[in-house]
């Protein structure tokens, strides 16, 4: 815009001198408080008679018709002062240009006198001040807007509890003039997007998992059998793994309790130590009693008690002071544990397979029977493992143990091979006396031991159990499997855990999960059809034609009648071949029990499925209510249920499909996809209802839906009260969901929102730049910001802080030592100045983002500082600017700095570059990926000196900070307030927002520059609490400030 010449125009009839006189006189009148003189008509008159002629004289030649489209001011559009009033933002820019004397440009044919310039500026400022005052607190134009992609994803996350991120498939949202993508100005809807919404809604509905009581969302889709299995099994196995089953932890906790005085905690209870040691209080009580209450004379518990009493005591105050205990304690406890585990292994049970030809040991009835034997004997003594002195037949010391019987995969083979139990080797730990009294005493002691220390608390994976393979040769990874071959089926074996360790709540939780496993996976049905298939295809048990009527695929194969028939035929075959011995009787009983239990489970499932449907409808209504972010009306509830019934009863969908489609429809509802700001009441400026406020607040601070507490405040009708709003805002800023604000507000404001996709770095030249480092760079400002918010640090820390936050990858990049741990471990580093870091300015993310790859870009870096951080308006560069080499090494004899200096010798370039080059040159000590450096890629020493606008000089980060502190701090604060306000209100600012911006600035200064205080200003402002009543707004009021929508992404 500056490059073209400005030919002056003299066609305007009114002489400039006269206009000037008139406007100055009028301004004086305003200044003396003549309020009456400054009404709308007066502004109109002055504009027409005095200001407009000046603009025509000095500006119209360039700012003529249709310039607005080229993002330049088009004066022909502003015939009246009303027109000016409607374009607040544009004219604010114009004022800034005039003040900075960028306009008219130096090569213009005529320049206004200083007085004329002032007059125009003062008039416009007075006009906008008056506008602002008149409309102060106008809520401004906030139209219904769809959730943007980020909000959509966060909302789905908080609605379902699963971070599904369906919006990753959506097209990028366009940003509004303020640079944010959360306003109705820019968030358009299209058929293509609706299609994406539909896919997203369907995708989310596939995560719904239907339980006996209600539904919830699984961490992955649960439509297929295998996914349902995964979901149910994983939950149970995870639960098991969470249980504290390391005996050493219990011995240690018991020791601490015993030594509580020595440890300086005389008042602590056993439960306290259980909590501190993260062990089960219930089991710790038992352990304590076992170790201390009754003294065992013989056997393993007696041995443990000896070891226990050998534990050293906590030695008085020296240890108590720092809360430590002798290191030997842990080792001792581990020895006690190892003793228990070793001994317990020796006492394990062995059970022979049941066989009843042609039914093999791998058939379901027999495998389940064997599972049950193990499960019910985990806390009892296997007496046969003990060695009675002089009685038990022992292997000689040099005798090799018999080879473990290893059956092949085939059942018949397994049945043929008889298990040969090897003779035991003499073991003093298992030796008990032969005399009846002594033997009984020992056996009782072992029995007690087995009761306290089960051979396993739970079984989380099980190989084909009928093969009797040694533990290390068993199939791995068959979680919760019943031990079948090829058939699916689960078996629960966790009685010791329930009895010894879990409290009532834990037991209920585990019971529910096992019940849900059957319910969700339909395990009883699938296990039964698998049984029929296996007996036919794998074990050949059912070959006769009498079995032909039973097929896995038959729909009624699980009906009571069919099961009874099948049991009859199956049992008849079993009995036919049964030998007349006890083993056969037991086998037949196992088969009978099996069919009874199968039938019972199937009948339960049938009932549970039916009984669950009303609870799913209840869940649906609750879901819809959360989805709409407000209570449903009765009509809405009825309508929703009617829709489900429609799908189920008339369209013929199954219950689950109908439910899923209803869930999808709720997610497609405009009540969900749009932020509507409904519920308004009263004249002109309407107060937003409390639920509307809850959403405004939550989308401001979390970019997501309100949580239960916020909705509860709304339900009580308290949210509109300033103290409640403030308290909620404070709470929410401390919540981890405030990350939404950090990513969406800070990320878009400072233009790093899409840095996770940044691919401009040449990774061959900069191998240090990998995905992990990129992620860490992205995260640094977020961590910094969140910490600032949480700790109530001043916003000026963003500029001047001598600390920052790093994870191991970033610490390495910054040359900081001593930061270790996982990638998500972030720690604060003080005295960051020694590494030339601290605050936003030297963060690698900005330095990298604003470097084009193989060189730095003082232009981009400086431009980022003045435009993004300080809020200075800089016009876009003219076309045909010379392009710098992409690689510093190709600059030839000149340094980048010198090349830029040459560029600034061209006057039209200098007009802008003088304003920001210096602020990029100070970063020359940082290379293209923000790394510290002494030489540039061309091998020349770097020079980080700069002369800032206004003539002051400085070097590097310190120099820039000093310059900002002395000259630009107010700009930064003002910009921060404007950006945050614009983000918080989801719209571009208008003239009437000026008083609020002013108030925010003041509040910052008064309140130690704490970030939270400006948030509180915003959420208690009329702008935030009200909704504009558009029907009643007249054109001369405070309309949306216009400005063409940029169809660019929020950040680029």
């Amino acid at each position: 815009m500056c490059a073209s010449g400005c030919a002056s125009s003299f066609w305007w009839p009114s002489a400039p001198g006269k206009s000037l006189f008139a406007v100055v006189a009028w301004l004086c009148a305003c200044a003396t408080g003549n309020a009456r003189g400054a009404d709308a008509a007066d502004f109109e008159k002055r504009y027409a008679e005095s200001v407009r002629p000046l603009l025509e004289t000095y500006c119209s030649a360039c700012h003529g018709k249709e310039q607005e489209a080229a993002n330049k001011l088009d004066l022909s559009l502003y015939a009246s002062i009303d027109d000016v009033g409607k374009a607040h933002a544009r004219w604010q820019k114009a004022i800034k240009r005039l003040e900075a004397k960028e306009m008219p440009p130096d090569d213009a044919a005529a320049q206004p006198s200083e007085e004329e310039r002032r007059a125009i500026i003062d008039f416009l400022k007075a006009f906008f001040a008056e506008q602002a005052k008149k409309n102060a607190g106008d809520p401004g134009p906030v139209v219904a807007r769809r959730l943007n992609n980020a909000e959509y994803d966060y909302t789905i996350r908080d609605l379902t509890g699963v971070d599904i991120r369906p919006a990753q498939e959506f097209p990028v949202d366009p940003a509004n003039e303020a640079g944010f993508d959360n306003s109705g100005e820019s968030l358009a809807m299209s058929g293509a997007l609706v299609k994406k919404y539909l896919q997203a809604a369907r995708q989310v509905s596939e995560y719904v998992v239907f339980k006996p009581e209600g539904f919830c969302f699984a961490p992955h889709p649960v439509v297929t059998d295998t996914d349902r299995d995964k979901y149910c099994v994983k939950r149970i196995v995870d639960f098991y793994k969470r249980q504290p089953t390391n005996y050493a932890d219990y011995f240690q906790a018991a020791w601490r309790y015993k030594n509580r005085e020595g440890l300086g905690k005389p008042g602590a209870t056993l439960d306290d130590f259980a909590a501190a040691g993260r062990v089960s209080p219930k089991y710790l009580q038992l352990m304590w009693a076992t170790l201390t209450e009754t003294k065992d004379e013989v056997g393993p518990i007696a041995q443990l008690q000896v070891m226990w009493n050998d534990l050293p005591a906590a030695e008085g105050s020296k240890i108590a002071a720092d809360g430590r205990e002798p290191e030997v304690v842990r080792g001792h406890c581990e020895k006690m544990r190892d003793y228990v585990v070793r001994l317990r292994e020796k006492l394990e049970w062995k059970f022979a397979n049941l066989v009843l030809k042609p039914i093999g040991p791998g058939s379901q009835p027999f495998v389940l029977w064997k599972d049950r034997q193990f499960a019910t004997h985990r806390m009892t003594l296997n007496r046969s493992a003990l060695q009675v002195a002089g009685e038990t037949e022992l292997a000689a010391a040099d005798e090799k143990p018999d080879a473990e019987a290893e059956a092949g995969a085939d059942d018949d083979d397994a049945a043929k091979k008889k298990m040969t139990l090897k003779k035991p080797v003499a073991d003093p730990e298992l030796t008990i006396p032969a005399d009846p009294a002594g033997r009984a005493r020992y056996e009782d002691a072992f029995e007690r031991f087995c009761k306290v220390f089960p051979d396993a608390f739970y079984i989380s994976e099980r190989g084909r159990i009928f093969l009797d393979r040694p533990k290390d040769k068993q199939d791995k990874g068959r979680l919760l499997n019943a031990g079948f071959h090829s058939m699916m089926g689960y078996f629960r074996d966790d009685e010791p855990l329930c009895e010894l360790m879990l409290d009532d709540a834990g037991q209920r939780e585990l019971d529910a999960m096992w019940e849900e496993l059957d319910f969700i996976t339909l395990a009883p049905i699938r296990q039964h059809t698998g049984f029929i298939w296996y007996e036919r295809a794998e074990s050949h048990t059912i070959r006769g034609s009498e079995f032909d009527q039973f097929r896995s695929e038959d729909k009624d194969i699980t009906s009571e009648a069919k099961i009874k028939q099948f049991a009859e035929v199956y049992l008849a075959q079993a009995r036919k071949n049964a030998p007349e011995d006890g083993n056969a009787a037991e086998a037949i009983k196992a088969v009978e029990d099996f069919f009874d239990s199968v039938n019972a489970k199937l009948r339960w499932l049938e009932q549970a499925k039916l009984a669950s449907e009303p609870s799913h409808i209840k869940s649906l209504l609750e879901f819809a209510q959360r989805d709409y972010r407000r209570p449903l009306s009765d009509a809405e509830r009825d309508d929703l249920v009617a829709f489900y019934r429609q799908l189920k009863d008339k369209d013929g969908l199954s219950h689950e499909d109908a439910m899923r489609d209803t869930v999808a429809s709720v997610l497609m509802s405009p009540h969900f996809c749009y932020r509507l700001d409904l519920e308004v009441a009263g004249p002109r400026q309407k107060a937003l209802g409390d639920y509307g406020l809850a959403s405004r607040l939550s989308y401001f601070i979390w970019s997501s839906m309100p949580d239960a507490e916020l909705l509860e405040c709304a339900r009580k009708g308290e949210l509109h009260k300033p103290e409640v709003m403030t308290a909620q805002a404070r709470r929410m800023l401390r919540d981890e969901r405030a990350r939404g604000l950090a990513v969406e507000f800070l990320g878009n404001w400072l233009d790093f929102r899409r840095f996770e996709e940044h691919n401009a770095v040449d990774r061959e030249r900069f191998p240090a730049f990998n995905n992990e480092l990129r992620q860490a760079m992205f995260e640094e400002p977020i961590q910094f910001f969140l910490n600032m918010v949480r700790d109530g640090r001043p916003v000026l820390d963003l500029l001047y802080a001598d600390y920052t936050f790093v994870n191991p990858a970033l610490a390495k990049h910054y040359g900081m030592t001593g930061v270790t741990g996982a990638a998500d471990h972030w720690q604060r580093v003080d005295d960051a100045g020694q590494y030339e870091r601290g605050g936003l300015l030297p963060m690698a993310v900005f330095l990298t983002k604003n470097a084009p790859g193989l060189r730095t870009s003082p232009v981009k870096r400086g431009y980022w500082v003045v435009r993004r951080l300080l809020g200075e308006e800089i016009p876009p560069p003219p076309p045909n600017v010379p392009v710098l080499p992409t690689d510093e090494a190709q600059l030839g004899d000149l340094t980048l700095r010198e090349t830029l200096a040459r560029h600034r010798e061209i006057k039209s370039c200098a007009a802008c570059h003088d304003r920001f080059d210096s602020m990029g040159l100070v970063f020359e000590g940082y290379g293209p990926i923000g790394e510290r450096r002494d030489k540039d890629l061309g091998g020349k020493p770097v020079d980080a000196n700069a002369t800032f606008p206004g003539g002051s000089e400085g070097e590097g980060l310190a120099g820039l900070r000093q310059y900002i502190k002395q000259h630009r701090e107010a700009d930064f604060l003002d910009n921060l307030c404007r950006k945050l306000l614009s983000y918080g209100l989801s719209r571009t600012l208008v003239a009437s927002d000026e008083p609020l911006v002013e108030a925010m600035r003041k509040r910052l200064a008064q309140d130690d520059y704490r970030f939270n205080c400006v948030v509180e200003s915003i959420v208690t402002s009329p702008q935030f609490l009200m909704k504009r009543d558009e029907e009643k707004l007249t054109s001369s009021d405070n309309f949306h400030s216009g400005g063409s929508l940029r169809s660019t992404p929020a950040t680029r």
Partner: protein, 450 residues
């Protein structure tokens, strides 16, 4: 709401009508009305093979074939067929007998599930509790072509899946599913012919979205009455967008509507397949035949262009008293050179022949639906007794709209391993259906000479 209810009940009655018609006619097939293009003699008939949709179906037989009787020689009408292939004799000029292809990732990993779950994907499978494989070629096709039809694909089976663990520690899910929608999830398989039939009609598949969109429209309309004019603009925008999507769904039907008109003109019902009864046909023969009928119907009326049919599962428990075989499929396959297993093989090939016959009877353009399709009959191994899958038996039928030359015997037995990949053939098939990928499974090149 009233409109919506009205619309929904319309749909219902339409489907009920179809069912009713079928039942009333009590005739299994009357398919003489082409859906695409026009029958000869009809006014303004235009036929353009390129405009006809191309379809793909895979039919799976587990545990191999009787190799002694699995051969073909010669070309075209003069082709000679082994005994097990005799049912295909009427279609000699429309088939390709392919020998020697294999899936590297399915070899050397142990028998059965590890040989099956990646038959159509070519990627290695993971053992243990966590399922991991790859998306299969039929689902790749469905993802690309499925938006234009009621169902992206039909995934059918005649035997229920099982999901326990095999001795190789692979999940039996790999034995049960040949169609996988992602690396971790199989496509749920439909076993009931009645439900497979239903899935082709309104309110199913993509059509289910209509109900949702109808409801959303009602809501947006109602809401527009409650909000300010500015907000109303936004809701109107939403409404318009929703309608746009709905129209796209409706577009799936114009060809069908045309066909319906033609049918009405001739006084014939278009869809004349009787809805199968609920539950399962007692006879497996009836079951398989009905599944083939559903695929034929879906292809003819362009309800889907992709189908897989698991005629039996790997380690199948199906049994065949009607073939005079007393053992179930899996044990029978351990004696794969027996007469019994030859009868079983031939019986399965006859299912392919049946489907070919159905599609051949459906005129479409200047040819038939078969001419515009590609049916692939395949097993997870050649020899059930040796569990040998180093060279898979493959039999193709249909010319994919003239893009696939037929009547040939293609022998890749003596080619190097990288020139006889199943996935190379899949790339070649997908190419012809307009889905051009750089790589699929373990292949980056097309199958030479295909």
């Amino acid at each position: 709401m009233r409109n919506f209810l009205q619309a929904a009940s319309d749909k219902i009655s339409r489907r009920t009508l179809l069912r009713g018609a079928g039942v009333a006619m009590a005739l299994p097939w009357l398919e003489t009305i082409p859906v695409w293009g026009a029958v000869s003699g009809a006014v303004g008939s235009v036929t353009d093979a390129a405009a006809m949709p191309k379809r793909f179906a895979a039919l799976f037989l587990a545990c191999g074939v009787n190799q002694n009787h699995w051969w073909a020689k010669g070309a075209g009408e003069k082709m000679e067929l082994g005994k097990s292939l005799e049912p295909m004799a009427p279609f000699k000029s429309k088939i390709n007998f392919v020998r020697g292809l294999f899936n590297k990732a399915a070899t050397g990993v142990g028998i059965h599930p590890g040989q099956t779950g990646n038959l159509l994907s070519g990627v290695p499978l993971q053992k243990g509790a966590e399922l991991r494989g790859g998306i299969t070629m039929d689902q790749v096709l469905a993802n690309h072509l499925g938006e234009e039809t009621v169902q992206p694909s039909l995934v059918l089976g005649c035997e229920q899946p099982v999901t326990g663990y095999h001795e190789t520690n692979f999940s039996m899910a790999y034995s049960s599913h040949i169609s996988w929608q992602s690396s971790t999830s199989p496509v749920p398989m439909e076993v009931y012919p009645s439900l497979a039939f239903d899935s082709l009609f309104e309110n199913h598949g993509n059509m289910r979205n209509r109900s949702i969109l109808d409801r959303v429209q009602e809501q947006a309309k109602a809401l527009a009455g409650e909000v300010s004019s500015g907000d109303r603009g936004r809701l109107d925008e939403y409404l318009t967008s929703v309608r746009e999507v709905e129209k796209r769904i409706d577009k799936m039907r114009p060809e069908l509507d045309k066909a319906k008109e033609r049918a009405a003109d001739q006084g014939k019902p278009l869809i004349a397949m009787k809805r199968p009864d609920d539950g399962l046909p007692e006879d497996i023969r009836e079951h398989m035949k009905l599944m083939c009928d559903v695929i034929a119907l879906a292809f003819q009326t362009d309800k889907t262009r992709v189908a897989t049919l698991l005629l039996c599962r790997d380690i199948s428990g199906l049994f065949y008293p009607f073939l005079d075989v007393r053992t179930a499929h899996h044990p029978a396959s351990h004696d794969d050179l027996s007469d019994s297993y030859e009868r079983i093989t031939r019986y399965y090939v006859s299912q392919l022949a049946y489907l070919c016959g159905r599609l051949e009877a459906m005129p479409e353009g200047e040819g038939t639906v078969l001419d515009n399709s590609c049916l692939m009959f395949v097993s997870n191994m050649t020899s059930g007794s040796k569990h040998d899958n180093s060279k898979l038996p493959v039999l193709m039928a249909g010319g994919l709209g003239g893009t696939l030359e037929t009547g040939r015997v293609l022998d890749y037995t003596n080619e190097g391993d990288d020139k006889r990949k199943m996935c190379s053939m899949y790339l070649s098939i997908m190419d012809r259906m307009g889905v051009k990928l750089d790589r699929f499974g373990d292949a980056t090149t097309r199958l030479a000479g295909f």
